[in-house]
Symmetry: C2
Subunit: 155 residues, 2 copies
């Protein structure tokens, strides 16, 4: 309830802190739900969704890393898990022996189809429902000004 005047720096700090807290809180709840209902991590689903939107449901690991904002090694390990679960398969590239594609399996597709909706509903409940359409658009635009906003942000 502080109704005093705040300096630019102060407001930046409190807003950033709130940003961090909001992320931690929403993310934690979202992650718990996703884990319990589908046995997936937020990152898992993120990767699956990227593959889902990609041509032929297939993506190079490097590109995946760039889009999802994980390290190359992070992607390797994440995909290890998804492969183990049978949701994704490796596919070697004929024209460049260095690259390995990650391809969605049929099982992966089904997992997405089943997880997508409930997860979207969770996001809507914990995040989207808090804002009006205009607010969300404004928020989206503001966030897009931050570093690395170039990253693909498809639904």
């Amino acid at each position: 309830m502080t109704s005093q005047v705040l300096s630019t720096q102060e407001i930046t700090s409190t807003t950033w802190l709130r940003f961090l807290r909001a992320h931690a809180a929403v993310t934690r709840e979202l992650s718990a739900r996703l884990e319990s209902t589908h046995g997936l991590t937020l990152s898992d689903l993120d990767v699956l969704m990227q593959l889902f939107h990609a041509e032929g449901h297939r993506l190079r690991r490097v590109d995946l890393a760039r889009q999802v904002l994980l390290t190359a090694s992070g992607i390797t390990r994440l995909l290890d898990g998804l492969e183990g679960a049978g949701l994704v398969e490796k596919e070697r590239c004929s024209s460049d022996a260095r690259v390995t594609y990650a391809v969605l399996t049929e099982s992966g597709l089904e997992t997405i189809r089943s997880a997508r909706e409930s997860h979207a509903a969770d996001i809507e409940e914990l995040f989207g429902s808090r804002f009006s359409l205009e607010e969300k658009m404004a928020l989206d635009e503001m966030l897009s000004r931050l570093p690395l906003a170039e990253t693909a942000c498809q639904t």
Copy 2:
């Protein structure tokens, strides 16, 4: 550059995704800088700052956990590190033998004094400078509507 009409659900999803990406990107850079200049984690500094603002630079571990949005065990381990570095000390509570306070040491205070400014400048550069004062206030207000926004968000 999609200028088509989007449903509420769609906009929620893309905004949420952008929120995630923005967090990952800014956080990663911020964390790298803080690590290299002061050998601290974002969470470390967060905890130190909470202590700094607390009465007597002292806080119960439970309260710390609530404010910083870590698990109780997370706090224990984080404080282990800070104690090892001599930035924080334990202090038993006389009236309740269950609680242990974390208290800032002189060295901890100095660390904060030196880290605070550069970190604030980093936040300003990577985050705050992207927005006008009004935008930041609007953003702050919006974020405060999210779950667990009750959490203390002092600078």
